[in-house]
Subunit: 361 residues, 2 copies
DNA sequence: GCATGATCTGTCATCGATGACAGGAGGGCG
DNA sequence: CGCCCTCCTGTCATCGATGACAGATCATGC
């Protein structure tokens, strides 16, 4: 495993087979005429030399790198992004494409440098699963690189993949209504909160949709929206904050205590479950809990009923959009949007409302 | 966002500034002599043309792509790999390197094609966080690409990052001993199980170490290893199987029922918690549970005491090893191994052994 | 006055694959 | 016999950046 066994080049193979590089290339790609006899000769030379195409040189010549760039917040610890990333990579691989991943950690600085890295490497397209600064999307677009935006409602028209969060939320609510629940609390992320780094409104569309889905569901049932049952925080990952909020809700007198909590993501639901256990509130007997995403859900105690996002499919769809756009060539086509649906997965954390907890509104 | 604004090349910039490409390159990289006046001129031209270095051309010329390849089982759903992947990317980014990620899903086929993809793209090094087929490592090595193996005890000497799993396991056991536990069950993965796809023994080193750590801890305490308290299954993700095993342990008569369970990963611990709840066994009052990895641990109910792996640091170390090796040039140096330690994180799932549950062995 | 060296800049081959193009051999047909 | 078409193969410019090399200018020192 010593110094570095120079990989054979086309020219080496050509020399070995006693033909020109053009002929080798023709054999390699199966286009143009090549005599059967020559073909065998070349194949043998390829095998013998252990030739491996140099994708770098090919990329330079073809002006196509067969590589996608994927910009996301962070592949860890939120499994949602990891799920999407997996889908992207799987679909890309099907087309022989590689994926360069950039984790921004939500920092504009890193997003900028990450996009720069991708553009320098001349990736064929960039997928944004999160955007800190709209400017970076423009930035990519201006350099002529196709862009796919995932789960965003950006003012910039590009290819896009969206999930119907509102409908998912309504489905979760319908499930709770069906179990007889009336006082359903919502714990989520404030779509209007502007974080330090200045997360743009576009990303917050997801949060807005989930909250709106909750409200709309109540309205359609002809129920009033009790604002005191809605708790919004600034970030998904503020586990302590979620526990505190949940604690407050659970300590209310039985008449006004919610019989169910709809959390805007599994992580928040997990915090609710922890707090319920701490206070000795039985789930689902005394409290039903629903999450969103289906990331942690199956592993929680009790296993969490949740609105599952098709993470894998989201990633695949995004990659497919990008690859299709590339195949169809410069027809920088109409900015298509692919819409995906969520699925309600019922597990053990939801159940019929307790007899005692009246419908008192 | 029309057709495709050809990005300016060095030659374009040179033309704009009225100098040669060599001069532009000198300005760009700050080497060689350039008159201050010329420098300004060139800088202006660079800015005006929106020039962006073409890393593909540079890669071809320099025979160095500033890109790492990362082969892992799957970035989702096991957050361990995602954590490592994040660390790798972060460290690579610090050196201006990109990361091409390959998810094998544990399939030899995909691992093979993934490694092929990376080699074709001439990545500067390949990091393996999981290996299905040893041959693929050799494969990479033979082509002169530096390799870093993470958490493996491979017969092939390469750069490597390992974590002291045995010590971590012993630490967890010491914690339980300290709480007065005597009958401690171990639920893990069978290091000798050969899966369909033929997972090699090397990968199973991790499992072996955790199990051995458990055994060794008992021995050091002068206790016998009760084989009937050890339950091994073939895969990490067989949640149902884990539940069943845990169920069996918990249904034992009080005299022989374990007072604590040490699970070889958080996922398994999560299943134990679910089963305990289902049987009405209180955690930690009647049963203490310890996990491994610190992935799901903080979100479970109750929050799980676990042996934390420094996932991020593992990834960073792996990337650093690779980058250092590259910097030090062809000195394909002695296959260094970096060793990292685990940390016991005590949360709510462990507590003193119940008074009733005697030390009966 | 001239050699020496520092400063500055341009020319050009190179990395490896690709494909446009040219050209040669052979067969069929009028 | 001449023309054209099919089959087969080689030559070479090209993609964009790099760096070795050479050439040019200017100042300094003896």
């Amino acid at each position: 495993m010593g110094g570095g066994p120079k990989t054979a080049t086309l020219k080496d193979v050509a020399g070995l087979a006693g033909v020109s590089t053009a002929t080798v290339a023709r054999v390699l790609h199966g286009n143009g005429y090549v005599a059967e006899e020559t073909r065998q000769l070349v194949r043998a030379a390829i095998a013998e030399s252990g030739y491996r195409l140099n994708a770098v040189a090919q990329g330079l010549r073809k002006q196509r790198t067969f590589t996608l760039g994927h910009v996301l917040q962070s592949v860890s610890p939120n499994p949602f992004f990891a799920g999407v990333a997996l889908g992207v990579e799987q679909e890309a691989a099907r087309s022989g494409c590689g994926v360069l991943v950039v984790n921004t950690r939500g920092e504009g600085e890193r997003e900028r440098s990450g996009v720069d890295l991708l553009l320098q490497r001349r990736v064929d397209a960039i997928l944004f699963t999160t955007v800190v600064d709209e400017a970076n999307v423009r930035f990519a677009l201006e350099s002529g690189t196709p862009v796919v935006q995932v789960e965003r409602m950006s003012p910039i028209p590009t290819l896009a993949v969206t999930v119907d969060n509102a409908s998912g939320a309504r489905e979760a609510m319908a499930h709770l209504f069906g179990l007889g629940h009336g006082r359903i609390a919502f714990i989520g992320v404030d779509p209007d909160a502007v974080r330090g780094s200045g997360l743009p409104s576009a990303r917050r569309v997801v949060e807005r949709e989930r909250l709106e889905g909750y409200r709309e569901a109540l309205r359609r049932q002809g129920r009033a929206v009790a604002e005191d049952l809605i708790a919004l925080q600034e970030s998904y990952s503020a586990l302590d904050q979620t526990r505190a909020v949940a604690g407050g809700l659970l300590r209310r007198p039985p008449r006004s205590r919610p019989t169910a909590v709809f959390a805007a993501c599994d992580l928040m639901a997990a915090a609710v479950l922890q707090e319920a256990a701490r206070q000795g509130v039985a789930v689902p007997e005394e409290l039903s809990v629903v999450g969103f995403d289906d990331t942690y859900a199956p592993y929680l105690t009790p296993a969490l009923t949740t609105v599952a996002q098709p993470m894998d499919e989201i990633g695949r769809a995004a990659a497919r959009l990008a690859l299709d756009a590339l195949r169809d060539g410069a027809r920088a086509g109409e900015p298509r949007t692919e819409r995906l649906a969520t699925t309600l997965v019922v597990r053990a954390s939801t159940g019929p409302v307790a007899a005692g907890a009246g419908e008192g509104e």
